[in-house]
Symmetry: C2
């Protein structure tokens, strides 16, 4: 590209505003937020801090405890009001140091890049060795019956590449990881291997929680899964050996971290805005969910710093234990239920720090909110989409009457990094991250000004 | 993110289609293209080939000649019709091996990362040494008058970070690079330095064409520009030394590469689809414009492979010399003008291989095209935007009656890489690249079926 002048929606919006056309009640708000936010890029500074000075912060770990202290300290430093912790007792599973998978056939030994799934028990020190049966679904596994006894079950249904939305790809494959190992255990398998939940064909395994498995289970990288699949087809007598020394430790006392700008007119009407403070132990938890955490902090910080005092309370809630089962989610929902406040809305960012594309909303009909799209599109969240927005951490607030919103960024790269060593700071673009923050701040402000 | 089911526009579209709702005339087309395109990811294979086996391919270079041969060969291999070259005589400027900039003040010597601007003359072997005057605009430079004599003029107006669209940032800063050195020469300066056209605050300089400069001129990295600016403020007596051994060689015979699927009903109605085959000599020309080239090839290849025979001719044109002044652009426009065909539309991809967001269109009113948005949104090109689309290579086709379209992908990262060593294959996501290809193929198909 040599030179060209192109005018985007966002620019057209600002240009129209400058001409006094296309003005909304919030034009000045949007302009001030753009100016401060995009020049300071504060979300990225926060993300650099938490990812490099704390790093991965799995539920129950010393790093998760550090993250709680860090978040509380940042909120206090920013001058948020009512900064406090909501205690919760969380899971504490640790990966250990041994993660090794090999397959032996008549041609020799194949090394298979793997990592334990969250919640997996350990193997004996010399591992579990058994023949491998490849299946494409948990249903196929359940039907194996006695055939599965003493075997290693290998769940290998790939992402459906033709699906454009990668969250749909994930949603249609992840039952293998969450339920597969428990189903395999039920039919007598001795271990389970699961193809990583990604379409990125590299040699990096992607972890994630599995539920109720009594047998050792690990994710294989895509390269390893493809190699094992080929080897099983060529050598049906093949055996694999899996060694893991992960373990579940006693529960740990932890907390959600909460801070707010208290509403000036209706302080008991609360708009929650947040992400989850824990991460997987792989990588640095940059996109998942350092992004959501730092975007939420930055959004409230910008409102505070620029002197926008909300009519209704805007509250940042940073949830603990999302990856391990959501004890922090439950704790905050119980806290909200027992309070005299009303949570009118909740906004979650847990789809990565990529450029915004839309805001998902749990309402079936969002016609009344469409007027907000011109302000939100200034930060690339071009649309409010109905029947969406029910992300994990805020979903329990819906029964309390909250309308749920989710920041929906561009999704193509999320599962390349998700739950793996690749989820690091360098995968996050500072401007894209900030645009998410500004979208969230704008939505929170609109909700605070106008209610729902 | 633990688990969630989210339904995107694209998924909703496909789900509706499966239910027989939301069907358009093109539902089957979209579904077949998604299935083949997203499973094969052919654009990325082509991009890997051209970036790693040829690499950077600046106009006039042996690598540009290889790229012409490669593109012609791929078109022939894919079975395109009427594959041929449109000759053009192109610029041939070479960077040389010496690019060095230092500043000397009373505290010592500062190393400043730099690279020559395209078209710059060389310095003497020991460089140009002179005091530095920093300016924020070409107007400020022009007003210096005699003060500028014998000086090095340093254009240092940064991108406006508050602008959300990075192409708008670029458009508002790039006059310093294109016109600045010539303006500096006119007032007697001996060299010019220009802040790189990026907002990425690293130490990598970004090159680009400058126009009509008779004095040596170079881009400074953002780190170097900030350091030099600080140093000039602290030490107004500071001098800088710039050494370049770039040169302009005689023009070279080259060509645009053309291939098509000839229309079955109206073969003389032509829809052009393309990008530019030349790149800068920095990096691998992956986003700029390996993306546009390979997306165009892949789009026509998919149509051919899946047996979609167009009513009107769909023609891929890969332009030469875009970065150095557009001789290939002129040559193809002259070719189109002298032919008996009518170019009814032209689609360009020259904004990087990121996920599509919109299609820009040169029409003032796109109401009649809005019905196409539901099909295009399946590949994330969610909207057709009026008054846009006049990219460099296809702009000369507008006077011939062509309606212009431009693929508009997410823009935030483009200028991080643009014209620099960072524009390499690893910055391109295979799925995002393919989505651009599918958007272009769909638009070309709609234009072929329905005209404009």
């Amino acid at each position: 590209m040599f030179v060209r002048l192109r005018f985007s929606l966002a620019l057209a919006f600002l240009a129209l505003c400058a001409a006094g056309l296309g003005q909304t009640k919030y034009t000045e708000f949007v302009s001030k937020m753009a100016d401060r936010g995009m020049n300071q890029l504060g979300a990225y500074d926060l993300l650099r801090d938490v990812t490099t000075n704390i790093g991965a912060r799995p539920s129950g770990s010393p790093e998760a405890a550090k993250a709680v202290a860090w978040a509380r300290s940042e909120m206090t430093h920013f001058g948020f009001q009512n900064v406090h912790l909501v205690p919760c007792t969380v899971h504490h599973w640790v990966r250990g140091k041994v993660e090794k998978c090999t397959a032996q056939d008549s041609d020799g030994t194949i090394q298979l890049a793997c990592c334990a799934l969250g919640g997996s028990p350990a193997t004996p020190a010399d591992g579990v060795t058994a023949p491998v049966i490849e299946v494409q679904s948990i249903q196929e596994c359940a039907k194996l019956g006695d055939q599965a006894k003493g075997k290693i079950i290998f769940f290998n249904r790939p992402f459906d590449n033709a699906q454009i939305d990668t969250f749909a790809q994930y949603g249609r494959a992840v039952d293998q990881r969450i339920e597969g190992p428990a189903v395999a255990a039920k039919v007598g398998a001795v271990a389970a291997l699961v193809r990583s939940m990604t379409s990125d064909p590299d040699n990096v395994p992607h972890t994630g929680m599995t539920s109720g498995s009594t047998i050792p289970c690990a994710a294989l990288s895509i390269v390893a899964a493809d190699n094992l699949s080929d080897a099983v087809k060529a050598h049906p007598e093949l055996t694999a050996n899996l060694k893991l020394d992960c373990q579940t430790l006693p529960d740990v006392q932890s907390a959600d971290v909460v801070g707010e700008l208290t509403g000036s007119q209706d302080p008991s009407d609360v708009i929650v805005m947040g992400g989850h403070l824990d991460s997987w132990d792989k990588g640095q938890g940059a996109h998942d969910d350092g992004a959501g955490v730092t975007q939420s902090l930055e959004a409230l910080h910008l409102l505070k710093e620029l002197g926008f005092r909300p009519k209704r309370t805007i509250r940042v809630v940073l949830f603990m234990d999302e990856e391990m089962g959501g004890r922090g989610t439950e704790a905050y929902a119980a806290y909200a239920k027992s309070s005299k406040e009303k949570t009118i809305a909740a906004i979650e960012s847990d789809s990565g720090g990529f450029a915004p594309r839309a805001i998902g909303c749990s309402l079936k009909n969002v016609d009344k909110l469409k007027k907000w799209e011109s302000d939100l599109s200034a930060f690339e969240a071009d649309r409010i989409e109905p029947n969406r927005g029910g992300d994990a951490d805020i979903a329990p607030l819906a029964p309390l009457g909250a309308v749920l919103f989710a920041l929906e960024p561009e999704s193509q790269r999320y599962f390349d990094y998700h739950h793996s060593d690749k989820d690091t700071l360098d995968k996050v673009n500072p401007r894209e991250l900030e645009l998410g923050s500004l979208s969230m701040a704008t939505l929170a402000w609109l909700l605070s000004e106008e209610g729902i």
